[in-house]
């Protein structure tokens, strides 16, 4: 591996730089674009940047899952809702009903950023390990390492997440369902007719 490290440094650095720029640009785009659909697109950009960074950090499986789940499902859902509700009109960023909010928010954001950056420079006790095991087993693929940890050590949390997902699905169905009571049905129909 000796010479490989040196050889791989430049491409890695270049990849990181590009991905970082994409990520940050996307994030700023989410915050600054006036149209929610554009914001969603910018979010996808960020997600891809993060996925690339995941690959850079030997988390290929999570990179793929990131794209599948986030880009493929979550943002699609966002877009769906935007289109369904017809809320894709522009939001005026200049007008702010709560004047202090924006400046305090910006101040807090900069302050928090500065703090985290300072903290990331600090020396951290990086010796603590979880019970999960190592990322780079001898000749093992990322997905098998992850899978083993997930289905042995973290079996119970994993099962609980399945329950969580079921609950979420049921909750979403209940929330999104139109109430089918005799009284409101007519009103709703009426409202629908007006909408379209």
């Amino acid at each position: 591996m000796g010479h490989l490290v040196l050889a791989a440094t430049v491409p890695d650095a270049v990849t990181f730089a590009i991905a970082a720029v994409i990520t940050v640009t996307g994030a700023l785009g989410v915050v600054l674009s006036r149209n929610p659909v554009h914001a969603a697109l910018m979010l996808i950009m960020t997600l891809f940047g993060v996925a690339v960074l995941f690959v850079e950090e030997d988390a290929q499986f999570l990179a793929a899952v990131q794209v599948i789940v986030y880009a493929g499902a979550i943002v699609v859902l966002f877009l769906f809702v935007i289109m369904l509700l017809g809320v894709d009109r522009l939001e005026s960023l200049a007008a702010e009903p709560m004047p202090a909010q924006r400046w305090v928010a910006l101040g807090l954001g900069v302050l928090g950023l500065a703090e985290i950056v300072l903290l990331s420079r600090g020396k951290w006790p990086l010796g603590a390990h979880s019970v999960a095991g190592t990322v780079n087993g001898a000749g093992q693929q990322n997905v098998s390492v992850l899978g083993k940890a997930l289905f042995t050590t973290y079996l119970l949390p994993f099962e609980i997440t399945s329950a969580l997902l079921v609950i979420a699905v049921i909750g979403a169905v209940v929330l999104a369902r139109r109430p089918r009571t005799a009284g409101t049905a007519e009103i709703e129909d009426h409202a629908e007719a007006e909408d379209t």
């Binding site: 960074l53 950090e57 509700l85 910006l106 979880s130 390492v145």
Partner: protein, 101 residues
């Protein structure tokens, strides 16, 4: 060991701050939601970085669970948003302040 971990962490911090500020200054509920996703992603990035730094797959596991929870959260959150805005026009968070003191 190519790019130092502090770079990743700084990027993560930047992402988090942008997300947080976005959450605070945007009024569109959906965009606010997206900003929450940004923050989650920054946390994920930090997790992965530490996982690599410590050679510990626990960080990746955490990210996995964050992804699952994020999916569930978005599903329910969007359900709520749809339920609320079925009766209203705009998607502005400031319109919903019935619960004020």
């Amino acid at each position: 060991m190519s790019v130092p971990a502090s770079f990743y962490l700084t990027l993560s911090a930047l992402l988090f701050s942008i997300g947080a500020v976005g959450l605070l200054i945007r009024r569109n509920v959906l965009v606010m939601f997206m900003c929450v996703e940004l923050m989650l992603n920054s946390a994920n990035l930090a997790f992965i970085t530490f996982a690599r730094e410590l050679n510990d797959v626990g960080g990746q596991i955490a990210v996995f669970f964050v992804l699952v929870v994020a999916a569930a959260e978005v599903v329910v959150g969007l359900g709520i948003i749809v339920a609320i805005f079925r009766r209203r026009v705009g998607a502005t968070a400031d319109d919903i302040h019935v619960m004020k003191g």
